[in-house]
Amino acid sequence: MMNIFKKTIFSVLFSLLIIGNVNADKIKIGTEGAYPPWNSKDASGKLIGFEVELAYTLCRYIGQQCEIVEQDWDGMIPALIMRKFDAIMAGMSITAERQKAISFSQGYADEVASLAVMKGSDLEGMDTPEGINLTLGGSGVKKTLKTLTGALAGKTVCTQTATIHQNFLESGDVGKINLRTYKTQDEVNLDLASGRCDVALAAAVAFTDYAEKSGKPVVLVGPTFSGGAFGNGVGVGIRKDDTELLKAFNKAIEKARKNGDISRIATKWFGFDASM
């Protein structure tokens, strides 16, 4: 009896050891699975999207197996630091604030942010230029921010928590607003449609994707935003002490860009070339 017991324990421990080793060779990549078209899930719960496809492509260039795991957005960076996975590919923009905690590869894609309202809102037809770049600045940008400050005063503005969009809305560039933050972009969309939010801010494509899939009359208003609080494109987030992996990802991104993989995959998911 004792013998069987010992054998069982031994074999269980041994198999755990093997499983552990297999996993050690895989690069684990964390994504949110709730920010289409960057990353999302299909009806069966499988992770899909631009970054999921790109991740497998990059891993092929690195020459290692990859496993993509799901992680809630608000715990993404802490989970990376606590070694739940080795890299983040979750539509995460490269910002100075995040770079205090983790490293980023070079950017692989970029796209602009925009405000959105439901059709019929009094914010429609705002008199602003098509797009502003906060890094460039200038009188045009200042004038636009002033217009926005006036338009957003007293409005409930909604956005996903811990995003560049929240950073921008809290920066004071558009004055003091009534800001509401949500755990996922889905919830922002739901409350925009229900009328709890007067206006929402996110990646422009997040709204157009929602409008298309839900059939709800969501329309983009105001200028598109880039630069400044909106960061410098989206890159792979990697732990600061993981310099080898950072190098590997940078090389893989360069190769994938040269071979046209990134722009091909981006065009497939976004409908336009969002690669950089």
Partner: protein, 224 residues
Amino acid sequence: MDLELMINSLPKLLNAAVITLKLLSVSLIIGLFIGLFFAILRLNKNIFINRFAYGYSYVFRGTPLLVQIFIIYFGLGQIEYLRSTVLWVILKEPYWCAIIAFALNTGAYTSEILRSAFQTIKPGIIEAGKSLGISNKVIFYKIQIPIAIRQSLPAYGNEIILMMKGTSLASTVTIMDLTGVAKYIISTTFKPIEVFIVAGGIYLFMTFIIHNVIKFLEKKYSFN
């Protein structure tokens, strides 16, 4: 361990704890009335009234509080007709949606606690009142309710503590309560352990206070 962050986040978290206490006290007060109302219905001999009250407590005790909040907040928000009614004034606000969910949830538990307390009152006490010529109404308000409340104190104290912890779910509908602010601080500092330890400490302190107040009341209204 980032001690500086822990100290710096303490005032922000304490401010947020005030929101948590507000959510808790408002929903407990409303929940107590709901609970008392349904406990009385449960004691009714009419089978339909009885079943109705039982159904309410069965549904709200049998589903997770998180699901209840989501149904009230996101679910009701999807019904277009509702948005054109006056109800939307209340349902539009995350704060009131949370209060409604919490009050209905704690009301269900409270009704069960009070019902069992009413049922433990010995018939002799009520008969003694009747033999002195006291009216049924006065017996109910002056004898049955006070005894039932005393009987249910220990169980109700537990319910308050459970509800206090349950209010952390308010953060899922954009309310900046203690948990909401803790998550917000983490989203900019990326240090969950430090912030959650401080937030957890504040919850623990609130539990300590509630626990001792209930213990004091139990002693004060002890039958011995």
